[in-house]
Symmetry: D2
Subunit: 330 residues, 4 copies
């Protein structure tokens, strides 16, 4: 997503990066929003709640309609959003063609022109190398691009409790933060453009490793005669402790209020995890970084997608790995 | 290790498991200790400190001498320990032949006779299936066997801060606890015999997975331009958090007082981790449990042993995975 | 399986290993056979066909009955076989307790006594370390033990086309060969006791790796638009060639007369492969040998057992890895 | 590499794909060659040997000089080659920016114009998706693009014994074949554009899996007491057989004339294999194909690059996995 900054006093010779003072005057002016999916819609709603006029677009008319009823202005395509707003947030699926709003080839989605001095904030999860390309493209148009992927799911998006990991020119962080704090509880500056994506990808890779590891471990312990609640307790007071063991345990009955207690409905889908791990894998390949466990985690989530787990929560890897007694054989 | 209970009033028809009351009277009577290595020696010292007379043995005379000077009685072999003490603690390397004190074939180490009603506590880390065999063998001799492997290294052994994970007959746990609390800060009852080993093995498998995962992740993040301290901070406030990221970070400079800050000296050696993972693998194979990441973690630590990392701390996997700039090639 | 040599002139002071001349005189005397399962039954039949009187036993009466009708003498248990025959072949499932005929604890299966000078040939697939233990046990009884596991399935067993990989004292190989050539087309001497098992395990580990690798590769190629027959042809004329690509291709329609053309019925079952890989893994763990791909292959076949593939041919890994279009998700 | 067809009778309204008859008339007219590295130089020489005038370019002047002395015309950049030749072969390193001759952004390497009706043959190993993009770009310029990656190393390139795997419009295959047969012994038509790359990538992924698998297996067998030559012989007559075991065995002393007999000098470098596996991984990720062993093979070759094996032959994985006795530890 992109976030165009409106600056009323823009002149031909305005320096590319406006001073913070002019930015704070820009508050409560129109914010563009591209991508009103499961995540984007509640995010845009939170901008409305905080008093920002929103101009938005999405390929699905129903998503647009709901936001329109809440007061947003709906336009036909991303280019129109960029025409009118000079702060634009994008939240798009990780489809490569869609995500290349500034550098892609599609005439329907490509934004060829943005206002000079605009701030573009992309909250999609994409390859950090693509973020860098977009930043270069934005700079050529006299705009600023920042990557700001999120952690936290639909619930956090609705309640405005997302965490944003932000990469981009440090001088622009305050401007981005002003908008992002309307939608999230934590806004973390990570460094140069692309580092927001890097932080997101790194976290999710380690999360996947921890989740599969916890599932294998719990399964092994149960088979060795340990009570799962007790095993979780022991791990959580020991060096095996991780988020997947103490906060999101994949074994039904060990914890309340997590997808494992609800037949792995809701939560963070296996196919979304597989996508993020694909990004991690590609990024690691391109930087020649060995990621043996991350790579195997990717393959396991990919196999799960092939075996009917695509839309279950990613903690269902416990179920996937567990022997089916009937099928077990000798 | 075994722990023989002395009960002065033992008669021919004494029930196998004595009531707790008789056990508490048994306190401060002689405790046997077999295995005075890096871990066993400080453990035995802590028993002496708590006022227990100790009768001990080890294959290395020097280890024995040090304990003798502190007041322990030294005997020639395990059988003599078992002859005199009716509570015996064992702490042996995971060499299969050594660990089978009750079921093995070696005439030098095999204990063929224990006092009726003895309590044998084994703190070695071994295959839970072997623990079960030993429990059966002990029962045939009228004794009780419990497995009580530890977490925590030499430092925790010296300061009496070990965690014991105890498996065995629940009625005997109080008796075991009385001794183990002299040597450890936590004594956790895990269930039937073998479950102490199971808990230990499970924890260490998840620990290895978390450590390698953290190392891959930190390495990838650094290559993507993230500051390692900042990345660790982000992971630790997010779902990637684990013990290896927040308590024992493998990247030099991220944390103080961990082996990564000291060229991976000290800590928990790679070859010890490889051994524990070998146990996890064998146990998983025997119970037909899929452990894909645990299995790959085992292979990685095995490869590290082959490449000169055997005696470095297991967090040196970060160093192992990191590209050597000189060797990197095109 | 064990193969006891009858030697009519045995005296108290007979040297342990008889000269070859006495062995050739022993031909056409009774051969013991323990284990009449899918493999053992046709093997024993081939001994009968070659004119050897057979004395056999099995836990399933039906298996025994069929062989009895062909002229074999049936007895109640392994001990009786060992009492009467001095050449005994065993072909048992890889259940550890069953396989330890000479060193196990079970009163029903343990053979405590064999004739002096007997030849025991075990064709079961077991841990080479167990073979070595059995050889030691046999030697103590004045007998000779050889391991002679087979490659080739039920079809090869019926047609006498098995390959035997034989480990044991070289001087005894001729005696073993005499019997094994009745049941197999190739009898290969591998070295000291245990090396027959080693060769079998090594072959099957590489076979599993090749089969999964071929399946991944064919699947990837098909998804990239290649015709599967053409891809197989290209691989088979290039460096990707392996037995699984050129002789037992896992993709339906590429080859005739292989399980992939028959819905993966028949052939070598996934659960049998998982067992052999478990042996390979355990052996590698005990010898501290890194086997990263072998280990992952083991995990994949273990996961397949958990997902309903236990009794399908092991080439069904192609089907397991293939994306199910309906389940694929976004 | 691109191969521009010269057709003397080209008119404004010439159909895009010339009939084969006109192509055969085109023989012995100038052929462009872009990329004169280890592989490209001997390939271009073979074109010269077959009587084709060659117009070539490379970033390294020395490479150019050698070819110039043999009669080739040297020009400054790819665009000049494309200006003059209407059959162009490219053989570039897999650096993404270099390989995107038709679609890239670099002003130094980008070819913006080719002659109408040109034939462009790319023998570099790249992502099949990039080949498809280049085919689209070529078509827009009125030219034809084919991918024709090679198997076989520098030796095969020198002796004209390469294998070409060709993807592209079937009608153009004869024209491509005419040139490629000057440089290779086998020219295989694989299907639509991109399938040449697909076949190459698939073969190399399976090759890597087979090589690591063979190395693990040989290592395990040796540790279990098998003679390596005997083990290789057994595998090669059994179902474990593969190209790496029977033609390019990685164990020193097993075969003559392979890199394992020459301290892993020469052959196919580990870093080149790591690159091809990176392509396979990326392609698998993009097509959502699970490749667990391929993915782990990639990671292992990546780790080897990090540990000093980058320029050794890829069969040195045997050495990498082999335990170093000194370092082995307890």
């Amino acid at each position: 997503m992109f976030c165009f900054r409106l600056h009323r006093f823009a002149l031909m010779n305005t320096p590319l990066y406006l001073p913070v003072s002019s930015r704070s005057m820009a508050s409560k002016t129109q914010v563009g929003f591209i991508g009103l999916g499961n995540m984007g819609k509640p995010m845009a709603k939170n901008l409305l709640k905080h008093g920002y006029p929103v101009i938005a677009t999405d390929v699905f008319p129903e998503s647009c309609k709901e936001l329109q009823e809440l007061g947003a202005q709906i336009v036909d395509n991303p280019a129109e959003v960029a025409d009118q707003a000079d702060r634009v947030v994008t939240m798009l699926p990780s489809n490569p063609s869609l995500s290349r709003l500034l550098t892609g080839y599609s005439p329907n989605t490509r934004i060829k022109k943005v206002k000079k001095g605009s701030l573009l904030i992309d909250s999609s999860t994409i390859d950090p190398a693509v973020s860098k390309e977009m930043a270069v493209a934005a700079e050529k148009m006299g705009a600023v691009f920042m990557d700001a992927p999120v952690s936290g799911g639909v619930g956090a998006a609705s309640s405005g409790k997302l965490t944003f990991m932000v990469g981009g020119v440090e001088e622009e962080f305050t401007a981005a933060q002003e908008l992002l704090t309307c939608m999230g509880a934590n806004v973390v500056y990570c460094g140069a453009v692309g580092t927001g994506q890097a932080a997101k990808i790194c976290n999710n890779m380690l999360l996947a490793i921890g989740m599969i590891g916890t599932s294998e471990t719990m399964n092994l312990g149960i088979r060795l005669g340990l009570d799962p609640k007790l095993l979780a307790k022991i791990l959580n007071m020991s060096s095996g402790r991780c988020w997947s063991s103490d906060t999101y345990n994949p074994v039904p009955g060990v914890m309340e209020g997590v997808p494992s207690g609800n037949n792995y409905q809701g939560g963070f889908g296996t196919q979304l995890m597989a996508k993020d791990l694909g990004l991690a894998q590609t990024t690691a390949t391109n930087t020649k970084t060995p990621v043996p466990l991350g790579s195997l985690a990717h393959q396991i989530y990919r196999m799960m997608c092939a075996r009917g787990y695509a839309s279950k929560d990613f903690s269902s890897v416990f179920q996937f790995l567990r022997e089916d007694e009937e099928n077990e054989g000798a």
